[in-house]
Amino acid sequence: MNKISNLQLFSVLFSVKAFSLICSGVTPDASQMAGAAISVIAQYLLAVPMIMLYKHDGFSLKKEMLFGKFGKLLYALFFIICGAVSFNRLWGVSKSVYFPVDSSLACSVILAAVCLYCASMKFSALSRSSLIISGIFIFTAAILILGAYSKADLANYIPATDFGSVIHSAVRNFCSSGELVMLFILLEFSSADRHKGVTAFFTGSLILTELIYIIEITVLGKIINLTDFPFFTAGAFSQPFSIQRADSLYMIAFTLLCVLTVTLQLVLTSVLVKEIIPDLKYNTLLSVILMLGLSALLNSTGADLSPVMGVLIIMLSVVIPVIMLIRRIYNEKKTGADGSNASAMRVQSQN
């Protein structure tokens, strides 16, 4: 995979975050807003060990992955689950918002085919596209804000009073954010001054989350409890122009973000699968089939993978990086001590 700049790192992760926010079925309120803010700050703090790890000379995740191939398998499994969840989100949205496709399955299969094509391009295509797609999304958000300005009623915002629900929201938000795991892998391919890209992402993520939540709360008011996807409902309620509806713009942004997110998950999975089984052919096709299959299974059984995702996120983005950092520091100290002992012995022998 090619190197990516800090701006590209930001735009890739920002787009993934935007997609999860657009498709979020969570009913936002003041507790959710506070919880999301706490979650983003916590994620930022947890990204510090990752940055420290990559600051060590010659560190390569590919070579020094904890538990070797088993570790890589865990990450690949996580991205397959993420991909399945993304497909599931598409299924959900396609049921609620009008998509001129016969069935949700057909919708997912068409999307999978496009993502397969996009994944066949170089990784640089993905990182470059992400910048343009995030630009389109920011433009869409600007139109949404423009439309929401006259429809928003600040009286709909009721400040949070329950500390427990804030913490519950924070945990829930953290356990549904796969971006931290993606960040850990993507840092391997990013250029110097990684902290700049990471800081930009978490700042953007915080602003975007709070902005979308506040628009949804203030525009929708009590209707918010009746809607499956508050973003789309808020968009439908806040039309900026009296003679022309802007819903198509939200659908375009949603589809582009969906393609980018699934393609990223597909690329990361196929890269990891290739490292686990180097001789495996059609690894990207296999990955997308696994994602689609799992998505269909989740959809038919109605199973909720949030707890599994939560455990995996904590393990892959907190436990493993921290252990690797400790191991690295310990090894460096040991090597340093051995080196100084050896030089001391050399000096003695010379004397």
């Binding site: 090619n2 700049s5 701006l7 590209q8 009008y98 998509f99 001129p100 496709v101 919708c107 068409i110 999307l111 496009v114 094509y117 996009c118 391009m121 170089k122 640089s124 295509a125 993905l126 470059r128 596209s129 910048l131 343009i132 797609i133 003679i243 022309q244 509806r245 819903d247 198509s248 659908m251 375009i252 949603f254 589809t255 582009l256 393609v259 980018l260 393609t263």
Partner: protein
């Protein structure tokens, strides 16, 4: 016989053997003219290719001085040395030691002088073949820029560049490609702006060509643009010397091909298609306005018909009631589905365009009238095509003319977008749009992304992308494409 085989055959010293060999290789070609004469009592032969040189020039500059040579101790070697070192019969005077070089020079319009007993043939550059005069380019018209364009003769094109760029750092290297055509090609670059590694890479790509003939730039392009799966060209093309010079100053490399009035430019960026010479002669605010108009026209040309189809077929709620009524009223009487109607109209336009292009100009104009006015008007009046659809199609086609360099991609993508929009609505358009975007972002050869400086984003260069800065600001910029290299 391949020219490479001729390379190993050195010139025969005996003049009669030499001439027999030359006639054999030429296969009795009628345009080979051989004049056997005696100069200072030594048998010589003056050879040329008919129609490739000027008769008056050869008479004045070669024949008269030759006949006036007087040597004290004449010998074939002394004669050729005298001509080569003491007479300036022309400024371009290569020497052929083998038959490959001999025929290449002869067929390039050189006069060739062979002497009995000598294994070398002197060549004199007295080319004087008929050529088109330097004229305004047909495809890149402008209002305020220069009005001269490249022609088919490579040396004239090189001089057009040199006239604008007198700096010694402008390098123009000639080389020959094509076994049979032996076409002259020229690589041009500013040696202080282009890394030597880039020139080497491009030359390596060109050397991989094993074509028998190189008749236009299109033969070369696939070799310097190795990625076949891309929709957009990552190699630019211009027939304007001023445009080429501006690209050379930006650190790009150009390739000229003899017999073709277009130059290839490497690398090409997407934003290049929206810049014209006039932009730099207009006031910056107006140039910026025109540039954004072009960006809009590009989107309209690709997306407008597909959005019309998608909205009419799947998302009528996106229209206000007035527009919806107009649309419903006009489409309810049309016999075909909207998707078939739209694709049909655009295909009809492409057919009329092709017919107009390939026919003689006088007939071509008539085809346009018949196609545009009679068929279009008749189709609407008979109710086969709705008026709003025809308006949308016409607007889309006219918008495509604003960025002619992208016309190939626009033509095909427009139709695919219509099909996607007709089947899956805006979802389909967005999906296909994502695929096109990825393809576009993957385009780029020699490490120069096609979408730069938009993505990867380079703020410094946006002064000539999002707006058109004034020259006062640009003069301190010293931009080269190397800044966009990844």
């Amino acid at each position: 016989m391949k020219p490479t085989e001729l390379k190993n055959q050195t010139i025969l010293p005996d003049l009669s053997d030499n001439l027999t060999r030359i006639k054999d290789i030429a296969g009795g070609s009628s345009d080979l003219l051989i004049n056997e004469i005696e100069v200072c009592g030594i048998k010589v032969a003056l050879m040329c290719c008919e129609g490739m040189l000027s008769t008056s020039t050869i008479t004045e500059l070669i024949l008269h001085p030759l006949m006036n040579i007087k040597l004290e101790n004449p010998s074939p070697a002394a004669l050729l040395t005298h001509i080569d070192t003491k007479m300036l019969l022309s400024v371009d005077r290569p020497i052929a030691y083998n038959y490959e070089d001999f025929f290449r020079l002869l067929n390039s319009g050189f006069a060739m002088l062979a002497a009995d007993g000598q294994d070398r043939i002197l060549a004199f550059g007295v080319q004087g073949y008929d050529k088109k005069g330097i004229d305004e380019p047909s495809g890149e018209n402008n209002i305020t820029g220069s009005h001269d364009g490249f022609i088919e003769v490579i040396r004239s094109n090189m001089s057009l560049i040199r006239r604008r760029m007198k700096s010694p750092v402008l390098v123009q290297k000639l080389f020959v490609m094509g076994d049979k055509s032996q076409t002259d090609m020229c690589i041009c670059y500013m040696s202080d702006r282009v890394p030597s590694s880039l020139v080497e890479k491009i030359m390596d790509s060109i050397e991989k060509m094993d074509l028998e003939s190189v008749l236009s730039t299109g033969y070369v392009q696939p070799f310097i643009e190795p990625d076949k799966k891309r929709l957009f060209n990552s190699v630019g093309r211009t027939e304007r010397p001023d445009v080429l010079c501006s690209k050379l100053i930006e650190g790009r490399v150009a390739i000229l091909v003899d017999g073709n009035p277009f130059a290839l430019i490497i690398p090409k960026l997407w934003s290049d298609d929206f810049q014209t010479v006039d932009d730099y002669n207009f006031k910056p605010y107006f140039a910026t306005f025109i540039r954004w108009l072009k960006y809009g026209a590009f989107l309209i040309s690709i997306l407008l018909p597909s959005l019309y189809v998608a909205i009419a077929m799947h998302h009528p709620e996106l229209l206000n009631s007035t527009l919806l009524l107009i649309l419903a009223e006009s489409e309810q009487n049309a016999p075909f589905s909207i998707i078939a109607e739209t694709v049909g109209v655009l295909l009809m336009y492409e057919i009329i365009k092709e017919a107009g292009l390939r026919l003689p100009k006088a007939v071509g104009g008539a085809v346009s009238i018949v196609g545009g006015l009679i068929i279009g008007d008749a189709a609407v009046n008979s109710g086969l095509i709705s008026t709003p659809l025809l308006t949308v199609a016409a607007l889309s086609v006219v918008s495509g003319f604003v960025v002619p360099d992208l016309s190939q991609a626009i033509t095909v993508l427009r139709i695919v977008f219509i099909i996607c929009g007709g089947i899956w609505g805006i979802f389909g358009i967005s999906l296909f749009g994502a695929a096109v975007l990825f393809n576009m972002c993957a385009t780029g050869d020699y490490g120069f992304p096609y979408t730069a400086p938009i993505s990867p984003f380079k703020a410094k260069t946006m002064g000539d992308i999002a707006v058109r800065e004034g020259f006062r600001k640009m003069q301190n910029n010293n931009f080269t494409v190397e800044e966009l290299h990844e």
